[in-house]
């Protein structure tokens, strides 16, 4: 395996580890409060944060 494939493999392994670690240490997900599949027409405003968020 050459160095470019090693760096790509390392990158994906670290990303997978981060996601797994984050899933374990974050609050448990309650599926009863699942967001609607389609926000448009759901009557629920998006609860997500965007790059334009200013934190107020």
């Amino acid at each position: 395996m050459d160095s470019k494939h090693k760096s790509a493999l390392l990158f994906w392994l670290l990303l997978a580890l981060f996601i797994a670690w984050d899933f374990k240490q974050s609050a448990a997900i309650d599926l009863r409060f699942e967001a609607p599949l389609i926000a448009a027409g759901s009557g629920k405003a998006s609860a997500g944060a965007h790059c334009a968020s200013v934190g107020r």
Binding site: S46, G48, H50
Partner: protein
Amino acid sequence: MASLRGLALPAICSVFFLAVAAFVSIRQAVLFLVGIGLGSCLAAARFGFTTGWRELVRARDPRGVFGQALLLLLASAMALPLLSQFEELQSAAGPIGVSLLVGAFVFGASMQIADGCGSGTLYKAGMGYALNIGILPLFALGSFLGSVHLPFWLSLGSMSPILLLDHFDAGFSFALTASFLIFLLLMVRLYVGPSRTWIKANWVYGAVGLAIFASINLILAGQAWGVVYGFGLWAAKLATASSLFDPSQNSFWGAAQHQERLRESVLLDVTSMTNIGILAGAYLIQQWKQRKDVKASTQQSQSLSAKQWAIALLAGLIMGYSSRLAFGCNVGAMLSGISTGSLHGWIWLCIAFCGTLIGIRLRERYGF
């Protein structure tokens, strides 16, 4: 054996999709697929905002910026009527002030040195480019630091976002957006001169694909496509977990919506999920190109010296920082801002292009 290896990645993506659908949220699982679509379009079409601007300036080649203008036009044509029809959907509305001006200028310069904007860094990292893999974590760190300092930059002076849809209906807002785009293309025409080729297939199908997936993202997530927030969130989570940062003492991360993002899994964050999808989509395209024997080298076009590596990594850090000051990168601020009728998107475009003129000079100076 090779065909089995080729099936491994789609299988991993399928398992991830099913796991997210079962244990997190069906919407988030579908947003992962949207991200794969976005990443596939970016990687297959080599749709680089940075490269398009550089080719325009250096070679007077308008094909890239024509593709970008087409993307903005198509995305606006879809987003503006949706936003006016469904009040649940939110524009990418950024404030206008010192933060935007400084951030956009510095971002425009640094993206040329790092050879990729937010989406460009993401899809190239997914394709296995070593430089972009190295830049990605620094971009995340910069994005986090920028968000921590954002309240200071906002205190230097800013005004509330200005949205076309607050003043006009969707039809007139689109007509205004299209008029501005045509004006920009006329300026480009004056710069490049006659007898230039304006249309290249990959830029066109890339623009169409990205506009469609960006619109699907808006419909499903309720917010416009963004990249940078997810990066900053990942770094903020690591900093918080390692007790290096107390979000409650910061007015950005202390806000309720960001506290919620820090508390929840990144799998529930819209931007993080599409970012993961973009990485996967770009990797899928890379694998497909290799199987089809299409030239898809993951080596840089030239090997970089240690000094060039250091400069590019520093540029990645600065790019992340400035992207938060500018309320996004080419995607979150320019594409999503303009297509959802926010004035800050237009200001971002003009100021970032001025920064790019400096960035190209710096890029040449350091031999990239």
